[in-house]
Structures are given as structure tokens and as C-alpha cells.
Symmetry: C2
Subunit: 95 residues, 2 copies
């Protein structure tokens, strides 16, 4: 669970999630091109690849292999619980 927060802590990874939220099923090269053109992210291919590994390890990105292409998909299910961890717990609650 801490992996999700660490994954979200980097601005480049947040841009990757932004991009995958707009358009799913993108390859590594497609993501690289769109990061540079739309978000002015100048990271290399290997850097983006390592970010995608981390996002996949955190459960935020799922991958699907097809021939020599590897498509990446966003998975928002880990995000749906994390914020409520502290929001729901009010002070002076004593069961």
C-alpha cells in the first residue's frame, strides 16, 4: 500500500497516469512521445520504462503483451481507498 503513495510521489509518474487516463492501451514509445510533446517531460525511454515498472508494481498500471508491442493500461482501483484512510476517521470517536 505504501507503494501506491511512493508511485504517486513522482511528477513524471503522475503525468504518465494523466496520459493513460486520457488514452488507454499505449506502448512505451507512444507514452514517451506524448510525455515530451504534451507535458514537456524530457526523460529518456529507459527512464519512462522504469517508471512504468514501478507503476505496475504498485498496481496502478496493467500491461498486455502483443507481439513486440506491450500495451499499458491504467488501473485506478488502488486509488479508491487510499484517501479515505484519514478522511473517515474523525477525532473523539470511541467505540
Amino acid at each position: 500500500m505504501g507503494d501506491v503513495f511512493k508511485a504517486l510521489a513522482d511528477p513524471t509518474r503522475r503525468h504518465i497516469l494523466d496520459e493513460l487516463a486520457e488514452r488507454d492501451d499505449q506502448t512505451l514509445f507512444e507514452i514517451c512521445v506524448r510525455l515530451t510533446t504534451k507535458y514537456q517531460v524530457t526523460s529518456s525511454r529507459q527512464a519512462v520504462s522504469q517508471h512504468l515498472e514501478l507503476l505496475e508494481a504498485a498496481g496502478l498500471v496493467r500491461t498486455r503483451r502483443e507481439g513486440r508491442y506491450k500495451f499499458h493500461t491504467i488501473d485506478t482501483s488502488p486509488l479508491e481507498q487510499i484517501a479515505e484512510r484519514w478522511i473517515r476517521t474523525k477525532p473523539q470517536e470511541n467505540p
Copy 2:
């Protein structure tokens, strides 16, 4: 906004928020004691102090000075928007 994610990326800071969610208005020393007894966090006073600075800079903790005591309060308002950034955005939306 990225400060919020970076603040949440550290397990000790998440424990601090857990503790402040349970009991508000705690001093630095109170937080230190409770971190060690309840969460087995062995950080020093200065380490916890630096974590609280970071949490305050991220807007997750508010402080109030009273004499030589400084009370810390959790503020969950930054958390209420962050997760929805990617959850709300569905693919194939084209305005």
C-alpha cells in the same frame, strides 16, 4: 499538490497522520511517545519534527502555538481531491 503525495510517501509520516486522526492537538513529544509505543517507530525527536514540518508544508497538518507548547492538528482537506484526479477521467471522453 505534489507535496501532498511526497508527504504521504513516507511510512513514518503516514503513522503520524494515523495518530493525529485518532487524537488531535498533540505536541511533538506526545507524538514521539505514541509513535514508539503504538507503531514501533524508533525515530528521534528531531526526525519527527522534520516530518511534521513537511506535513505542514503539504497542508496536511496545522499547528497552533501556546506558550512553550506547539499543538499539531490534522487537516484532511488536501486529501479530498487527489484521488479523483484519475478516477473521474474515463477513456474515450472527447469534449
